[in-house]
């Protein structure tokens, strides 16, 4: 549609200037990332130089070696149910464990959120029952409130539930956050009522209707919600900060923040950590960018 107009538009000075400004801005937005990645490969001398090295004169791995040798943790630790015993893996650099923790946390939040939100969104959009309006109002109100306000009561609750310093303490509140339900309700509104009616007349059970008809229809929404939850939980630093504390339970963001607090001037080492934290999530984002954009726009409709 826009392509039709292309021929009509003329190149005005304003347009040239705006493209130039746009390119400069894009460069400035990319620069911190560039600085993290190149910085992580620079020598100590180049990093602590008052004249910045715009490009590493030699690429070294010393920063990564230092990062990996700094602390260690078991590769995994799985508690055996109903006993006090814990199975632990071989000792590895703590940063590796932090990455594993972060991936586990983000994937668990994502899967749980997608399942619960798809079910609830379908129910709110297509079922008619007493109390539906109340639940939906509560959800919209909760979304308008600052998330961090609930953190203090949450930490006491997690202490009481013996979840403090466990991944569950970070995962459960993310799953509870009602944005996903809201998003999936928007997607589920589009399911044709006749299809559900037909399934009912055919005698399909509720579960079957949900799995065979609803889920395939709202798949794009689930995709958007999945990627959205994955990225947001990966980066939910505040929640991780107050809920997790022992070295082997940290996420990568927390680990880097701790390193930064301990050795605030070893920028090479810190950049190596920052690169380790940022590159995986950026890769995920770039691959799934399309779904992500969809999720943001859908969540805002009628927001």
């Amino acid at each position: 549609m826009n392509n039709l107009n292309h021929g009509v538009h003329h190149t005005t000075p304003y347009k040239v200037i705006s493209v130039i400004i746009l390119l400069v801005m894009a460069f400035l937005f990319l620069f911190p990332l560039y600085w993290i990645v190149t910085g992580s490969f620079k020598t100590m001398k180049e990093i602590n130089s008052t004249t910045p090295a715009w490009w590493p004169s030699e690429w070294v791995l010393t920063n990564y070696e230092k990062l990996f040798s700094r602390r260690s943790a078991p590769l995994f630790s799985i508690p055996i149910p109903f006993t006090d015993e814990v199975v632990t893996g071989p000792t590895v650099p703590a940063a590796i464990r932090w990455l594993i923790n972060t991936v586990w946390m983000a994937v668990a939040s994502m899967v749980l959120t997608c399942i619960t939100a798809t079910m609830a969104g379908y129910s709110l959009a297509k079922k008619r029952f007493v109390g539906r309006g109340l639940v939906f109002t509560l959800i919209v109100c909760a979304m308008a409130l600052p998330k961090q306000v609930i953190l203090i009561p949450l930490i006491r609750e997690m202490n009481a539930l013996k979840l403090y310093d466990k991944m569950g303490a970070v995962i459960f509140p993310i799953v509870g956050w009602p944005f996903g339900v809201f998003l999936m309700k928007q997607f589920s509104e589009g399911i044709p009522g006749e299809m559900l009616e037909a399934a009912r007349i055919d005698g399909a059970s509720e579960a079957k209707t949900f799995l065979r008809i609803v889920v395939p229809l709202v798949k794009p929404g689930v995709g958007a919600l999945a990627i959205f939850t994955f990225i947001n939980s990966w980066n939910d630093y505040f929640m991780q900060l107050i809920m997790l504390s022992s070295t082997s339970n940290l996420t990568i963001s927390l680990g880097i923040a701790q390193l930064q607090a301990e050795l605030s001037t070893d920028y090479g080492l810190i950049m190596a950590g920052a690169a380790l934290a940022a590159v995986p999530i950026l890769t995920v984002f770039i691959i799934f960018q399309k779904y992500f954009t969809q999720g943001i726009t859908m969540g805002a409709v009628k927001g």
Binding site: I36, F129, L145, V149, I150, P153, L154, G176, W234
Partner: protein, 302 residues
């Protein structure tokens, strides 16, 4: 007609299945969002200092009274308002400008720009913050190097350690991490503007600026409103930047409410006091959102 003859059994089936589908989500929502919210208000009326194994003591509104006599809180409130008042309009204006410059570009180019402006959000607050800390560094930072090279500053400035600059430096980082989502939203909103109206106006001889203000601006108003509300909420919650860069210093010049809540609750274990601040913060955000709604409503015919 069919509705009224719908058997009671069917209504009951509908209700039961409706709640069954809601149940898993409701458990998490009520358990880890609604319950903490209620507890936040409830605990704010108590002296709830942790770690001494003692019961909370009911003190009525004392926490609230103390708050407004606490100079550190008032300073934090003022800083937070400065952040919000600067970052909300700048974020809206900048993202609207970028979006109107890119929304007519070809698909892949538009996606590339949109993606670049979103990168700082995805990179994560910790990684973004540590690299900016390096860039702001007194000796090895590129800001001082470039500033001196261009002759803007005479000698090295300790950006984050100087009361005059610290808050501004933090706002700058905050801006780079808050325009991503608004740009995505504006690009989609501008793409949905009714083109027949635009063309009709152009036929009538309206210039680009008139077309923008008279036709596009009213149509994207709901998006602007939404962006203002989410940016306000995000700016009020500015925390990671403060905690990692300045810890509220120098001399409380970068304290924000969110950071002060963290400090009171998780450093001093004044849970009740922290909760009272949380309640105040929620009320302030609600007022801001309501005012924005009012203003936006008055400004449009919707």
């Amino acid at each position: 007609m069919r509705r009224s003859s719908m058997s009671k059994a069917l209504v009951r089936r509908e209700t039961i299945s409706g709640y069954l589908f809601l149940l898993p989500s409701l458990i998490f929502f009520v358990g880890f969002v609604v319950y903490p919210m209620i507890m936040c208000v409830y605990t704010s009326f108590f002296d709830a200092t942790m770690g001494k194994d003692r019961q909370d003591i009911f003190i009525g509104l004392q926490n609230y009274k103390d708050l407004f006599k606490d100079p550190a809180f008032l300073k934090a409130l003022k800083n937070t308002l400065v952040i919000v008042i600067v970052s909300v309009p700048v974020t809206c204006a900048f993202s609207l400008w970028v979006s109107s410059a890119i929304y007519k570009m070809r698909g892949p180019i538009r996606s590339a720009f949109r993606c670049i402006f979103y990168l700082p959000v995805v990179t994560g607050s910790v990684a973004v913050t540590v690299v900016w800390k390096w860039m702001y560094n007194n000796y090895y930072g590129i800001f001082n190097y470039i500033g001196k090279g261009l002759g803007i500053i005479e000698k090295n400035i300790n950006w984050l350690g100087d009361e005059r600059f610290a808050l501004g430096c933090i706002i700058l980082i905050l801006l780079t991490t808050s325009v991503g989502q608004p740009i995505v939203l504006y690009v989609s909103a501008l793409g949905n503007v009714d083109n027949s109206l635009v063309e009709a106006a152009q036929v009538d001889g309206a210039n680009d600026l008139q077309v923008f203000w008279k036709i596009k601006w009213p149509q994207i108003m709901p998006t602007t409103l939404y962006i203002m509300v989410i940016t306000t909420i995000n700016s009020f919650q500015c925390f990671a930047l403060i905690q990692l860069l300045t810890s509220g210093g120098p001399n409380h010049s970068t304290d924000t409410i969110m950071y002060y809540i963290y400090y009171q609750a998780f450093k001093l274990y004044h849970y009740g006091y922290g909760n009272a601040m949380g309640v105040i913060l929620a009320i302030i955000i609600a007022i801001f959102s309501a005012v924005q709604f009012k203003l936006a409503k008055a400004d449009t015919s919707y």
